[in-house]
Symmetry: C2
Subunit: 282 residues, 2 copies
């Protein structure tokens, strides 16, 4: 058996790779946008891959999804309407819907194949997409925020890397539109890349957010599937400061069955390593 049958490797920037021991390849399909793949691994459950990059592993997707969702949702005074752009695997929607104040969560995913594949093969992550409070739209998120007349309390940009179909999600025009669709105390959180390997991406995104929003910052988490472990989210808001306006009592009283996020982690995640603190200009 060749090595490619034993290991599913993601090579990153040509210099580092993370490999997961394979049990079997489950599905591979091609959409107009990208290749979507599911494999089963020996130690990390099923993985969802887009163009060869791991997006979700069943073993640790809770970290990413808890951190992208609960940071803005526990900060907003009363989140009722939430917009998720990308995130067709459904994990972010699952965490958003744990908040009882949320009446509706709109998911705008450009690629229907991501949604269909996740629903079929990774139901633990995707099942929330069938909730009556979730509304799935297969369309371009950039176009959606440009044209919609709806308003949202929280916008979550759950994108892939800043190239290919997600490229515009890292640009200034998009964030001006996000500001427009946000309500008065609105918050936006965005996947921002690897501090070790993509510091330039984070710097650019922070520059854009600072130009568009009165409050802009970054926070981090660590998981098993993204290169280098450490990963960043960008945070911006029309007026909610991510640490000073945080009420830790809300987390305790919500009593959610979480594995990563808690009140300490909320504040701790905004404690940035010195090289990253400098890069985001804090």
């Amino acid at each position: 058996m060749s090595d490619a049958n034993l290991w599913l490797d993601e090579v990153y920037q040509g210099v580092v790779r993370t490999g997961f021991r394979l049990k079997r390849r489950v599905f591979k399909g091609k959409s107009p946008f990208q290749t979507v793949e599911v494999v089963e691994t020996a130690g990390h459950g099923k993985l969802l891959l887009i163009d060869g990059m791991t997006m979700v592993s069943e073993r640790d997707e809770f970290v990413y999804h808890e951190m992208i969702a609960h940071v803005p949702l526990f900060l907003h005074p009363r989140p009722r309407r939430v917009l998720v752009i990308g995130g067709g695997d459904g994990g972010t929607v699952r965490e958003v819907l744990r908040h009882k104040t949320v009446e509706s969560c709109v998911l705008v995913e450009i690629d229907g194949l991501v949604v269909a594949t996740s629903k079929k093969y990774i139901p633990k992550t995707a099942s929330a997409l069938s909730s009556r409070r979730a509304q799935v739209r297969i369309e371009d998120g950039v176009k959606f925020v440009r044209e919609t007349s709806e308003r949202f309390d929280v916008v979550i940009v759950d994108s892939t890397e800043p190239f290919g179909p997600a490229k515009e999600l890292f640009g200034p025009t998009f964030y001006k539109d996000v500001r427009r669709v946000l309500t008065e105390r609105g918050i936006v959180v965005s996947q921002a890349g690897s501090p070790f390997y993509e510091l330039g991406t984070i710097k650019n995104l922070m520059k854009i957010l600072k130009a568009v929003f009165p409050v802009a910052d970054a926070y981090t988490f660590t998981n098993l599937t993204y290169p280098g472990g450490l990963w960043a989210f960008a945070y911006a808001s029309k007026g909610v400061h991510p640490v000073r306006h945080f009420n830790s009592a809300r987390v305790k009283s919500a009593q959610m069955p979480l594995q990563w996020y808690n009140a300490e982690i909320h504040a701790g995640a905004f404690a940035l390593p010195e090289f990253l603190r400098k890069a985001v200009g804090r």
Copy 2:
């Protein structure tokens, strides 16, 4: 060229591997204890490996060494004498000696080959071992703390994994000896493994520390070279609480040229992910 000439892979628990793109193999030697190896990589500088496990990468060793050294040294009211057990690469000693109060740092490394190899091939990490304030002893650290009449303000257990030569460094007898050699407000910090992959090791270590010390806790950091990125240190003390007794002003006035550790990170590192918080019994 075969794959083994292109990538230096560390396979972990049979289910995951991290590979660094190789430029060349620099050195390989065998001591009575283990195999010691140096390779040069395309994107991460030189790596030091022990029995095939990456111990140090030039690109990001600052994270581990800053976090193992500055957390206890900025907490202790006036650290003068420091003991490092293991850590023959010298990175921890380098960070310890940035503290001007430190008069002497004793390094007790069981394997002379680790020290010699690091000095020759990774001088950026190892050069502090030649400082007049550093004293290098090639002997068994367990035996040293059992027999010495010296006393230390801070003990740093900079060990490899809890098997092979380092096994006893994870046991209760060793930590009773550490308590004995610590001064009145003494602090010990120990490499504790991967929260994702070795939660049992961390639990055991915490149980031992809680039985031996009035203050016992854990903190985390993330780097590129250890499996899963996220890594834990155990913290114990005769009386210094790691967050309540922390004086952030000391960090600012020290003006050290650090890349990871800062006053925010100190407190943030003790914010544990929910599954780890439960495991350490906080």
